[in-house]
């Protein structure tokens, strides 16, 4: 099983914060595989979706923890990303 660094994100991801979110995850990905923990994210809009989509398109070695707050789960469902994210328990 691949050893992954857990990256825990807190707060809200929107136009104001999505770049910091992307930078934080990208930085850790340079050091190795990442387990992305979004359970502390209370809100995400399409800017966060774009960050996740970009990371995956660029071949990031990333898994996402299943624990999500309801609004984040909802935006992933609406955009269909819920079906393509690499989940940690898959």
């Amino acid at each position: 099983m691949t050893e992954r660094t857990r990256v825990s994100i807190q707060g809200e991801i929107d136009l104001a914060t999505h770049e910091a979110f992307e930078a934080q995850v990208s930085e850790r990905l340079q050091e190795g595989p990442v387990l992305l923990d979004l359970s502390g994210v209370s809100f995400m809009d399409s800017t966060g979706i774009r960050v996740l989509d970009n990371l995956l398109r660029n071949g990031a070695d990333l898994k996402v923890a299943r624990e999500l707050q309801p609004q984040v789960q909802q935006v992933l469902e609406i955009t269909g990303l819920i079906d393509t994210l690499p989940w940690a328990d898959d």
């Binding site: 136009l15 809009d45 800017t47 935006v75």
Partner: protein, 130 residues
Amino acid sequence: VSFEGTFSAAAAGIKEIRSEVVAVARLCGLDEKRVGEVALAVSEAATNAIVHGYRGDPGLIHVSATRANGELTVLVTDEGLGMGPRLDSPGLGLGLPIIAKLTQRFDVISRGSGTRIHMVFDCPVCSEEG
């Protein structure tokens, strides 16, 4: 219950816009799932104003939220350049499709003098209070 306010078209202000409209949505009696949907739609509309209306330049965003006749109506209006495609859009162009999915109905009026996004959410518990 209603809210009306004007905000700087700055990314850092979107959270406050969401917060004000969410407060009205809660007063309407919407459950937390629906409140989350309103927050998401409003966030997309405000982002649209900043990214497409003002293209990062300073400006104002006018926001109103009103409940009447079983509906919560939210208007997000800017005085920018009108909507236009941007290859570097930070939201993949998902904003309006997301709004379409979350609202009972919505429309966009976009001119050279600005854009107005008009969103209507079902709010059954509002109906008796008008």
